[in-house]
Structure formats: C-alpha cells, structure tokens
C-alpha cells in the first residue's frame, strides 16, 4: 500500500475544507449501509466531529430482545426440570423440540436484527456490533441456543462504546462464549486452552505477541468461568488459583487479571485497529508504523472504543482517495444498502431471507469458524454473485402471495397493518429516481446508487437503454419497464458491489 501520509499525519482529523459531499458519502457508506441524501445533508450541516458523536454515541441505541428469545429464556428453568425427570426416550424428544424452538427463534432473531439495523439511526451502531461479533466470534453451529446468541450480541452492543478491556471481561462471562470456546469444560488440573488461545491470537493481540506458555498459563486462569441455564457464575472450587507466569509476570492471576495483563502489551493497541481496517477500510494491511502510532494513542485512552471510532473515522487516512469506492460490500451491507437505496422494508419472511444470506456467503449468527468472516474478495465467487443478483431481482418482482404458506401470509398481513409494507420496488418507488429525460435519469440513478462516478461509456449505455429503440416515449408503461431494467442492471454490475 502506498500512503503519502506519515504516521503522524495519517491520524490527524480531516481538514474542515475537505469535509464535503463526497467525503460524507464515503463516511456513511463505510460506517453504515448506504448514503441516503437526507443523511448526507445532515452530516454536512453538523460537521464531521458532530456527525461521529451522533453515529457513535456514548449510549448506543439498544435493540429490544425478540419475544421468541424472551420466551426461550423464560422456559429454561421449567425445561431443565422436565429434562432431568424424563426417561431417556422422552429426553431425546424434549431435546429435539428445544432445538426446533431455538431454530425458529434464530430465524426471528435474524429478521428482527435486519429490521433493526436497517433504520438509519441504528445502522452505525449495528455495523459496529457486527464488527465486534466478527472479532468475538460465537456461532450457531456450535451454540444452538438462540437466547445465548442474542444475549452475546446484546453484550457486544452494550459494551461496544466503552473500554475494550471491559468488553473483553464481559465476553469472558458470556454464556455463548463459555460454550463456544469450551470454558464450560475447563477446570483446575485440566484447563482447556481453546479460549485462551483464541483470545490471544484473534481477539486481542495477534500471532507473534505471546508464547505457547502464555497460552497454557492463561488457560489455567480461565478455569471456573461457567454458565448454568444461560447465567454466568464463577465456580471457585473449579478455578486454578495457583501462581502463574504470563507475559513474564508472576502472580495468582484470575481471568480478569490476565485480561489486564493482555492490555498492557503494546500489541493490544494495534490488533483491534488492524481488524477494524480490514472490516471497514481495505483488504491490505496498513504499514506497521501507522498502526503503531494509532495504537500508542489508543492505549493512552485506556482503549476506549468510542474514542477509537471517532479518531479512526475522522482521520485523513480514512478519507484518503485510494480507499474511496474500493471496498467490496459484505452481503449484509449489500442487502441493507439495497433496501435503503430503494426505501424498502425487511419483509417478515425468514424463508426467503435466511437462505439468501447463506448463498451470499454470510450466515448471520453463524460465521464459518472462530476467525470470523474474512471479507473483501472472499465474498465474491460466481455463486455468491449469482446469489446477489437473485436478491436484487427479487426486490423488483412483486411477492407472489400464492406461493407463500399460511404462516408467511399472516406475517405479511401483520407487517402491512403495522405500516411496514414496502417490500418490493413499486412503480412509484421507481419513479422517485426518474428525471425529466433519460440523460438526467441515468445521472440521478448513478449518483444515488454508486459510490463513484462510473466511466462515461457506462453512463451513456445506461442513458441509451433508458431511451429505448425509436427515441423517448411518453407512454408510462414501457418507460417504467426500461427504468426497472436499468435499475436492476446497475445493481448487478461490479460498481454496485463496491462502497
């Protein structure tokens, strides 16, 4: 990567004179899902610093716990009692039913989260929460209890604006994490290294900044951190309270003490910013010195996450020209951005949405492994591109209600009654993008949808397609068909996959 900025210059705030529409759009497309004109105007009026204060507030907007998750949790003690009293055969049946309830709840949670995240006022917080869940990974495949997955996400959201050490300590106590990385099986005398290893390698420091011995000793400290029926508790008698040597320090460290030691290492300052860069900015690694400069500063704040977001997203480096329009959208970004671009709501149809995400390569609440989603080019293959195209096209076709089963039809009705009815692009919705003539329409569409102006030839081809054979026509129906065709085509091009 070629950076003209020095490590010092890189993290200086963007000069006020450079805070313009293009910069605002770049910011919104990166920290949220898209750059609706209203949001862009607002950000420009406030100025960059104020916009970031609003987008990354001290108290992040919380997402209400979905009713199906609440029900799961309420049923947990009664269910545990039934299970304990059951015969082996009934046990199997009970467990099967519980798994099914949890799976249904996961579908609800997925759709609920998408609906929540789609709101402009929640978008930045939710994308940040998604980022944190890509670092502090838990996955449905190994943690089939949706209530635990939901609470884990709530934890990340609630602690996501505070100090990173506090977040890490909260994660240590997350029942989902306790199950995912085998803390539940870890005890004095037989410590399980899984959590310790992934904590050091992936969550906080990165390879090369700890020794195998550090892992072994840290694993001893993480014994006794358990969960019962979805509640954390510390099992003192299972905890190894002996002396340990970690990072060349010796003491009777427990889990929290080890985390404090971790955050004394210099690498703690650069690891999360490096992951942040990969998630929000670019596939390429930033030069070591630039990261180190940011890391040293961040450490000085006590690893305050909110301050990190403000510093990072207001920096000259973040707004550098080479990064504009160069990031491949994740499936979530693609989908939610698409909905926002056309003012659509998330339909209450998990059967349509969840498989689409799987095909696009991002099963929400279920990253493929503890590394999280790699992102960038890894999102793209002919299969995943095909999946994106199918998603885009489906939004331009009315929902065929006859094909829906009874539950889905009911859910659709409820949503309509609640005023959330725009699930596919209507003719009116399309006309909102139209201009007085094909050239103007092409310009408006491209301005609204693409991060950067495309090649002239692209724009001309689009305008020509909007004109149709035999010149412009006044008839509404063929013109609308051409407009529809043009909009969908743009969504399928490489230019729209970038932000």
């Amino acid at each position: 990567m070629k950076l003209a900025l020095s490590p010092l210059e890189a993290w200086q705030p963007l000069p006020a004179g450079e805070w313009n529409e293009a910069a605002a759009r770049h910011l919104l497309r990166r920290v949220a899902w898209s750059a609706p004109p209203g949001e862009v105007a607002r950000a420009l009026r406030e100025g960059l610093a104020a916009a970031l204060e609003r987008l990354f507030p001290a108290a992040p907007p919380l997402m209400p716990t979905p009713p199906s998750v609440v029900t799961l949790e309420e049923d947990t003690p009664a269910f545990a009692r039934k299970l304990a009293a059951a015969t082996p055969e009934n046990r199997r049946e009970l467990l099967r039913q519980a798994r099914e309830r949890s799976r249904d709840a996961l579908l609800d949670l997925t759709v609920d989260w998408l609906q929540h995240a789609r709101q402009p006022d929640c978008a930045a917080t939710e994308k940040w929460t998604l980022f944190l869940s890509d670092v502090y990974v838990v996955a449905a495949q190994k943690v089939p209890n949706t209530a635990l997955l939901c609470r884990h996400q709530e934890l990340l959201r609630a602690h996501g604006a505070g100090p990173a050490p506090a977040l890490t300590k909260a994660v240590l106590r997350s029942p989902a994490m306790i199950n995912y990385l085998d803390l539940q099986q870890s005890r004095a005398g037989a410590p399980n290294e899984n959590f310790a290893r992934e904590l050091l390698e992936l969550f906080t420091l990165g390879i090369g900044h700890y020794t195998e011995n550090d892992i072994k000793e840290a694993a001893r400290a993480f014994t006794g951190y358990r969960q019962r029926q979805g509640e954390f508790f510390f099992a003192r008698r299972l905890h190894d309270a002996g002396g340990k040597t970690i990072f060349r320090r010796t003491g009777r460290f427990d889990g929290d003490a080890v985390i404090d030691l971790i955050y004394q290492q210099p690498a703690a300052g650069t690891h999360l910013p490096a992951r942040l860069t990969r998630f929000y900015l670019t596939d390429e690694a930033l030069p070591g010195e630039h990261l180190a400069a940011l890391g040293a500063w961040w450490r000085g704040t006590g690893y305050d996450l909110r301050q990190l977001t403000h510093r990072y997203f207001s920096s000259r480096l973040f707004f550098d020209a080479q990064f504009r329009g160069a990031c491949i959208k994740s499936p979530v970004q693609y989908y939610l951005g698409l909905l926002q671009d056309f003012s659509l709501d998330v339909p209450p149809l998990p059967r349509r949405i969840v498989p689409a995400f799987r095909l696009m390569g991002q099963m929400l609440y279920n990253p493929p492994n503890v590394r999280g989603w790699v992102g960038g080019r890894e999102w793209i293959s002919s299969t995943t591109l095909e999946a994106r195209r199918l998603v885009a096209r489906a939004l331009f076709q009315p929902i065929d209600r006859a094909r829906l089963n009874a539950d889905e039809q009911e859910a659709l009705e409820s949503a309509r009654a609640a005023g959330r009815a725009a699930f596919t692009v209507s003719d009116d919705g399309l006309r909102a993008h139209a201009g007085p003539d094909p050239e103007a329409t092409a310009a408006r569409l491209l301005e609204a949808l693409l991060p950067l102006a495309p090649a002239d030839a692209y724009r001309r081809a689009l305008a020509a397609a909007l004109t149709g054979d035999g010149g412009p026509t006044r008839s509404a129906s063929p013109a609308n068909g051409r407009l529809r065709n043009a909009a969908v085509a743009i969504l399928e091009t490489p230019e729209y996959q970038l932000c």
Partner: protein, 414 residues
C-alpha cells in the same frame, strides 16, 4: 461428455487465452460471448445419451396426499372427511383400492402409460410439522433430529462430479428465485438460476444492458473492481448461453399457459440444448391448504399433472425421454381428519411421484392405514431416503451411502 480435444472456448478467459490477436480487447470482448455461443452451438454434439438428468419438483407447503391418491374403498376416509372426501364415482381409478383425484387426469394417463410410479405413504421417523424444518429435512436428507447444512444433491455433486464440466456449465439449475437447499454443498459447484424476471423479453433486455455496462471499466479501476468484473464476465457467458437456448427452443408438445408449465418447458429447452446439467429444480405451490382446500388443491394438481404430461410428451418428441426422470417431493402430507375450515392441517406421510420412460410405472408400496384417532397423523411406511437412494444409485450412477450418510434399501421403481 468430458472436454473434447479441440472444444471451442466457452469462457471469456479461455477465448482471450487462445488469442484475439490484433483486435482491440474491449471491442471484441463485447461481441465474443454471443459469437462464441453461436458457433459453439453449431458444433455442440447432441445431449449425451450417457448422462442422465433428474428433475426435482417441489410441491411447496405440504400436499394433501389423501386427496391426491384417494382410498375410495375405505369408509374411514369418508368418515374423516365428510366435506373434503372425493366421491367414489369421481375418482380416476388406479387399482381396486386407490385412484387419483379427478384433477389429476394428466397424472392418471401417465400412470396408465406406465410412465408414472406412485410411491405411497412416504415419510420419515419422528416427523416434523414445521414447514421450514421439514423442508430442511427433505432437502438435506437428514434425520429429523439433526441439522445438516448441505443438500443431498449438493453432496451428490461433491461425491460424484468434482472437477468435471467446464466452469461455464452449471451442474444444477433451479427455476426459482432462490437457490434451493438441495444444491448446497461442501465444495463449490456451479449452479445457475433461471428466475422468472418479468418475462423473457425483459430478461433478455436486462442481459443486454448488463453486458454493455460490464464492458465499460473506468480508466484506473481499482483491484477489487477488476476482480469483480472478471468474475461476473465469466458468469455472464453461461447466462447468455442459457438465454439463447431458451429463446431458440421449439417444443415438441403444447404446454399449458401457466408459469409451472413454462418452467418445465424451459427445463426441456436446456436439456435439448445440450447443457451438461444433471439436476433441475422446479417449485410449485403453495399447497398449504388449511382452509377451503378442494378448489385450491384441485387447481394445483391440475397444473402439476397437465404440466408434467406436456413435459413428458415434449421429451419424447425430442427423443430425450430415456434420459430424464422427474420426481416430486413435499415437506409433509396433511392430517387425515379435515378441520373446521374445510381444509386440513399439517400432517406427515404422503405419496410422491416419479415420472419417466425408464420408470416402472404404477403403484408402489401400500396405501396408508386410516385407523387413526381424531387429529392423529398417518404412520409412514417408506422412508423418503429410500426413494433418494434408489434415484442416486440407479439413476444418477452415484453412491447413495456416501451421499446419505448410511445405506438405505433401494426400492423397485427404477
């Protein structure tokens, strides 16, 4: 049909590699795919006689088996269904015990011609009555207490077809808006969606425009954009080819004018066009008839039967009938006892249909036992994975034990 020694290039990359010497890249690239497709088509050998094709037809929502294959001699049927019971004299008889709903004239004739196998009372142990979950089970061929993330066809692809056709040839084609779970696999296999997008003309216009836009990179395009562009261009080669096959096809039979029949016609077009695709997936629905079942199910069954009959005639006219077998599946049957809404609720076992020239037509298995209490469900007799095993081993020349995870006894319909 493996890659022929001097096969014409079917991907843009291949074409460029073979050399478009002295010709401006962009200028030629715009025309290359169509040009290639046209000439490739002229030289393409006829669809291989060795490669069999499976067409999966999903009856989405849970088709009521008892009102499809009607046990017209069983008093209990009429007691369970005072309103919904189909009168004996309307039933299209198959044998002394069961017959088709009068809506199934197409299916009935196919059965009489020996081209339709009716596998009765198919289900699985510990049945699940949730649409989503039971569809999962049928598509992944899992046990009802397991969650598997790959489809049985995806695993068939993993097992039998890795590295075979050129990248431009999809192994599986689905005529639905979403990729079906049956196609999900551990390894990546090219699949392709022929989704109804506003009609054929609009689909073609969309493709024309997309190709134009795709060939207009900006001067200093960044690496991500470049990567995206190349991947998409490859995908468009298939799209163009498919579009052309669909446009140029002359069916050998007249199809009814409904979307389902159109999808079957498109399947026939792609098979006849020589695509090396092994599995096609089509969906019809919704069969979720909780209320006012009679009219709704009748309409769907008529669509199913008439569409399949036309499809079979078309294949025969093109001499492809020996190569193609179609199979229906549905996530569950429905409750024997009718409900208060003149409909039926989610149930369990039901018959499924396998159609083809090489199928042993007629009834297989036995009708379900209707000795059920109020609101009780049918007990299955044939595990659907036996049906799959039969198809995988005897029709697709695959390894059903590897694909399904264990051995299921094949049946006798192929």
């Amino acid at each position: 049909m493996k890659n022929l020694p001097n096969a014409l290039p079917t991907t843009r990359r291949e074409f460029l590699h073979r050399g478009a010497k002295g010709i401006g890249l962009l200028a030629f690239a715009h025309y290359a795919p169509s040009f290639l497709v046209a000439s490739a088509r002229a030289e393409m050998p006829a669809a291989s006689r060795d490669r069999t094709v499976l067409v999966l037809i999903q009856l989405a929502g849970g088709n009521d088996g008892l009102n499809t294959v009607v046990p017209y001699e069983d008093d209990r049927y009429y007691r369970l269904r005072p309103t919904l019971g189909i009168p004996k004299d309307q039933v299209l008889k198959l044998d002394a015990r069961v017959g088709f709903s009068p809506a199934c004239t197409g299916l009935h004739r196919l059965a009489q011609e020996g081209k339709l196998a009716i596998i009765q009372n198919v289900g699985y142990p510990n049945p699940n009555r949730s649409h989503f979950r039971s569809t999962d089970i049928w598509e992944t061929a899992s046990d009802s207490n397991e969650t598997v993330f790959t489809g049985f066809i995806g695993r068939y692809f993993d097992n039998c077809c890795s590295g075979a056709p050129a990248p431009a040839e999809p192994l599986g084609v689905h005529l639905t808006g979403e990729v079906p779970e049956v196609f999900l696999a551990d390894r990546e296999h090219p699949t392709f969606g022929v989704a109804p997008f506003g009609g054929r003309r609009q689909g073609r216009e969309n493709l024309d425009l997309l190709e134009k836009l795709l060939h207009q990179p900006g001067g200093d395009e960044n690496e991500s954009a470049s990567y995206l562009r190349h991947t998409m261009m490859d995908a468009l080669v298939t799209e163009r080819r498919v579009q052309r096959l669909l446009d140029d096809y002359r069916p050998g039979a007249e199809y009814p004018r409904d979307p389902f029949a159109l999808e079957l016609r498109n399947v026939a077009a792609l098979i006849a066009g020589g695509l090396s695709t092994r599995v096609y997936f089509v969906s019809l629905g919704s069969f979720d008839t909780h209320v006012n079942q009679l009219g709704r199910q009748e309409a769907l069954l008529r669509t199913l039967g008439d569409g399949l009959a036309a499809f079979q005639r078309d294949l025969e006219a093109h001499r492809l009938a020996d190569q193609v077998t179609a199979m229906t599946f549905s996530e569950f049957g429905r409750r024997p006892m009718e409900n208060d809404g003149k409909g039926t609720d989610h149930g369990t076992a039901a018959p499924l249909f396998v159609m083809g020239a090489r199928v042993k037509g007629g009834l297989h298995g036995a009708p379900p036992d209707l000795n059920v209490g109020r609101n009780q469900d049918l007990a299955y007799q044939i595990d659907f994975r036996q049906v799959y095993a039969t198809v995988i081993d005897r029709w697709l020349a695959g390894n059903s034990t590897a694909v399904l995870g264990r051995k299921f006894e094949p049946l006798d319909f192929i």
